[in-house]
């Protein structure tokens, strides 16, 4: 309702359940008691462990071609986030060459520099910021030393310009300098240029992969081919937890185009001369599955309730709130199972010949894909070459690539290359889902209308636990799932009494990393609650937030984005011409972001017209692509917050196709997105995920201002 000054009684807050019925007993062990856990948590949270590849050998990173262009072998994959462009900018600046001379390609496991950390967690640019520029500068100095030798001059007498080095009256290209050199003088790591001297870093350079993507070049995993390639497919169950017990292949074997039915202890696959033949044969295999359960959504919701599983206190300040106290208010929130739904299905092309294997694949975990194939086929890892392709979307889905193993097994069985990819139904039913969550927020205001205590109790399925992306030790040491707790910390550090408690439940189906991990759901819950408390306090939600953030370095940056978003959107509580605004902010992997959503309600449905976003990623290596990530994250977050939901019916995950799995389309995307970038530190930080945080809460808070309804469940619906 427009008049927000009205006090809301406690009763009104307890819309669904509330603490009386749920009963939170926060008895978890406290993470910060142990100094090692504290340190690891700090690392995990700031994503400082962003890169684990080579930092010493420029030859692993760069190759100079005869035509004098420079190949940059990227240890990170390009999945849309624009990394290749930023990396090219960094390399060009330190190498003293124009952008068009840099060509970025994926490093294969054979060509070298493989990042043990995978591609994910919004770390590609920030993680390579130091090592890549250092390697580029080192190569530049190596070329200078070599040119000095060739020209019989001192390095200081040489001038570097656009991929050439000139001294005396002679000019040599980098290619000419490098030609025939087998031993290089390698200097100490040179001092890097200062930010203001960069020509490309900090500029909105067009994406380097723009042409390939606009003219339809065959750059994706799905586009990979090899001579004599066959098509493979694997029979997959439709029920959760189904265990393969055996298959009758007598019909399928005889079908046209079938080359071989591959039977393994854990799967049965078909290899055929065409995709259609493989699919037809697959549909004629009858498999016996042991299906352990017939779960429904209600069962999952019951499991996913605060108080179930094991708990860990991840944040603790002052004392806990006393539930019996009249002034303590609470609200519950839920988020559903989410699918990745990336448009390029998971797929792979595998060729196994004798003791060697070649794997072309869209993967976020190059090294792990290689290791898993090598292990299953009992090959030496050095003999398995993984060639990464561009990814038709990653979002965390491609951190798991068991399909590479299956394709390699099938290829070995038929002695020819085998291409295998998921159907869309398989994508939806065998996704590594974003786990559903449940949150209970509790708060108490003091006499000045500020929070005296705030608690966040939340439960999530696995995200980082059992995951490939982080060292397996990490979750164990930590006791908390570093993916699930992303965004789960309370950022209002001035509040004297704080608790954030994470409850861990493993679901009967696979859940894992989904762009921004816990951030979307955690921020939805916490920032909706903060909004509710601001309303209760009769305060403007922007001022309410600003007043409760400490003035330390991180706090200042958070305050700055909150202020900037509010100013830029001209945030107001009042409804104007049927439109209302909602405010939310979050910090993810060290990047603060605040958003204002402007909405109306049309024919009973929420319509988002405009989103204003202020973010401080530190140095924006490519500001245009940082903006693109903000726009994309806002739309993907809006899609997840307003439309998307998987459900479970009789042991089966549904829906299995776009459409029924509702996603934001053109008509749902805001027509205006206004982005303000701040630079609160002099290195690049996380970009791809942080702007996904605030959007759900910003929309829900706007809905409250317009309708008086506090939406507590994603997807946000008015009826």
């Amino acid at each position: 309702m427009p008049n927000n000054k009205k006090k809301i009684s406690r009763r009104k807050f307890l819309v669904r359940g509330g603490l009386g019925t749920v009963g939170v007993v926060a008895i978890g062990s406290y993470i910060f008691r142990n100094p090692i856990r504290r340190q690891i948590l700090g690392m995990a949270n700031s994503m400082d462990m962003a890169y684990m590849g080579d930092t010493g050998n420029p030859m692993l990173w760069f190759e100079i071609t005869k035509e004098n262009s420079i190949l940059l072998h990227s240890p990170k994959v390009e999945m849309g986030q624009g990394t290749f462009t930023s990396l090219a900018q960094m390399a060009a600046d330190e190498l003293e060459v124009p952008m068009h001379l840099i060509q970025v390609v994926h490093a294969t496991t054979a060509t070298g520099n493989i990042d043990g950390m995978s591609t994910g967690g919004s770390t590609s640019v920030s993680g390579l910021w130091q090592p890549l520029r250092e390697m580029a500068a080192t190569l530049r100095e190596m070329l200078t030393l070599e040119a000095a030798k060739k020209l019989a001059l001192q390095p200081k007498d040489l001038v570097l310009d656009k991929g050439t080095i000139t001294g005396g009256n002679k000019t040599l290209t980098y290619a000419q300098i490098a030609e025939g050199v087998s031993e290089w003088d390698v200097p100490e790591t040179p001092t890097l240029k200062s930010l203001k001297d960069y020509k490309y870093i900090g500029k909105p350079i067009p994406r380097v992969d723009l042409g390939a993507k606009v003219f339809g070049d065959p750059i994706f995993g799905m586009d990979a081919t090899m001579p004599n390639m066959l098509y493979g497919t694997v029979v997959r169950p439709t029920k959760i937890g189904a265990i393969f017990e055996g298959a009758d292949i007598s019909q399928a074997e005889k079908m046209p185009g079938v080359v071989k039915i591959v039977q393994e202890p854990d799967f049965v696959g078909v290899v055929a001369t065409s995709l259609t033949a493989a699919e037809n044969a697959k549909n004629n295999i009858s498999v016996t599955w042991k299906t352990p359960n017939n779960l429904n959504t209600e069962d999952i919701v019951a499991m996913m309730t605060v108080g179930n599983g094991k708990s860990t206190i991840i944040q603790k300040e002052g004392s806990a709130l006393d539930e019996e106290e009249e002034e303590v208010v609470s609200l519950e929130f839920r988020s559903p199972i989410g699918a990745h739904a990336q448009i390029e299905p998971n797929g792979v092309l595998a060729s196994v010949e004798g003791t060697r294997a070649t794997i072309k694949i869209a993967t976020q975990v190059i090294g792990l894909t290689r290791k898993e194939v090598a292990e299953r086929l009992e090959l030496d890892e050095e003999n398995v070459n993984v060639i990464p392709t561009y990814l038709g979307g990653g979002f965390g889905r491609r951190l798991h690539t068991p399909h590479a193993i299956q394709a390699a097994v099938m290829s070995k069985a038929v002695g020819q290359p085998v291409k295998y990819f998921f159907t869309r139904q398989e994508e939806f039913q065998h996704d590594m889902f974003r786990p559903p969550t449940h949150h209970i927020l509790k708060g108490k205001l003091n006499n000045e209308g500020l929070l005296e205590g705030l608690e966040h109790h939340f439960v999530s399925g696995d995200v980082g636990n059992n995951s490939a992306m982080i060292p397996s030790l990490l979750p164990t040491v930590l006791g908390a799932d570093i993916g699930a707790i992303r965004g789960g910390f309370i950022q209002y550090t001035k509040i004297p009494n704080l608790r954030s408690t994470y409850w861990h439940v493993t679901l009967p189906f696979a859940t894992s990393w989904w762009r921004s991990l816990g951030l979307l759901a955690n921020t939805f819950a916490m920032e909706s609650f903060i909004d509710a408390m601001a309303v209760k306090a009769g305060k403007n939600p922007v001022d309410f937030r600003l007043a409760q953030i400490e003035d330390d370095a991180a706090g200042k940056r958070l305050k700055a984005v909150i202020q900037a978003a509010s100013d830029k959107a001209n945030y107001q509580d009042d409804i104007k011409e049927g439109r209302a605004m909602g405010f939310a902010a979050s910090v993810d992997a060290g990047t603060p972001c605040a958003q204002v959503a402007e909405i109306s309600i049309e024919n009973g449905a929420i319509k988002v017209h405009k989103v204003t976003c202020a973010m401080d990623p530190g140095v924006a290596v490519n500001p245009d692509q940082v903006r693109a990530q903000c726009e994309g994250a806002i739309i993907m977050g809006l899609s997840a917050a307003m439309h998307e939901q998987m459900y479970v019916e009789d042991g089966t995950l549904k829906p299995t196709i776009y459409g029924p799995y509702q996603m934001a389309l053109m008509k749902h995307a805001p027509k205006e997105i206004d982005i303000v970038l701040l630079q609160g530190r002099d290195t690049p930080g996380a970009v791809g995920e942080p702007p996904l945080g605030p959007i759900g809460a910003a929309i829900a808070n706007a809905v409250f201002r317009l309708s008086g309804k506090r939406l507590q469940e994603m997807p946000l619906k008015l009826v």
């Binding site: 606009v214 339809g216 070049d217 799905m222 869309r424 776009y658 389309l665 053109m666 027509k671």
Partner: protein
């Protein structure tokens, strides 16, 4: 069966055992044109959109036998680096693609829309451009669609001036 079709201005003949094979796989696997994408196989995402006799069609759900004698344009035939289609030009100017996988389908759908409605309103765009983009590039796409309309118009003007 033997099927003759014209793809990007070139007459092609393909031998196929199953006439119900989706046109998409004939284009991708037999003719080796990989720009037309597979996303769902059920006409639900639009990644496989191409033109058949000038109409935008989701080729994953179009049996190849129906394409007999028809004229097909794929993203590779829409334009190229030297001579980009206004839609491709606009897409580059607005730096639309992220992962890029959905983009050919969107560009083909847009090119067909502009043929019918040269200056689409936002409502026309909302009604007609119903493909799925997971990276969420809709915001830039809308700008690019309006820009493509402008670019096409100026090309038309130059053409008619030349003709006059």
């Amino acid at each position: 069966m033997t099927i003759s079709l014209n793809v990007n201005g070139i007459s092609q003949t393909v031998e196929i055992t199953d006439g119900n094979t989706p046109l998409l796989w004939v284009i991708r696997d037999l003719l080796d044109l990989k720009g037309t994408k597979f996303g769902c196989g059920k006409a639900a995402c639009g990644a496989c959109t191409l033109h058949i006799d000038g109409e935008a069609v989701r080729s994953c759900s179009y049996p190849v036998k129906l394409a007999k004698g028809k004229t097909i344009t794929t993203i590779e035939g829409l334009g190229n680096e030297e001579n980009p289609h206004p839609v491709q030009q606009a897409w580059m100017e607005e730096i639309v693609p992220q992962c890029g996988y959905c983009q050919p389908g969107f560009m083909m759908a847009t090119a067909a829309l502009l043929d019918k409605i040269p200056e689409p309103t936002d409502a026309d765009i909302d009604r007609n451009i119903i493909n799925v983009c997971r990276c969420g590039t809709y915001y830039r796409m809308r700008k690019a669609i309006h820009k493509a309309a402008e670019l096409s118009k100026s090309i038309e003007t130059v053409k008619s001036e030349n003709d006059a």
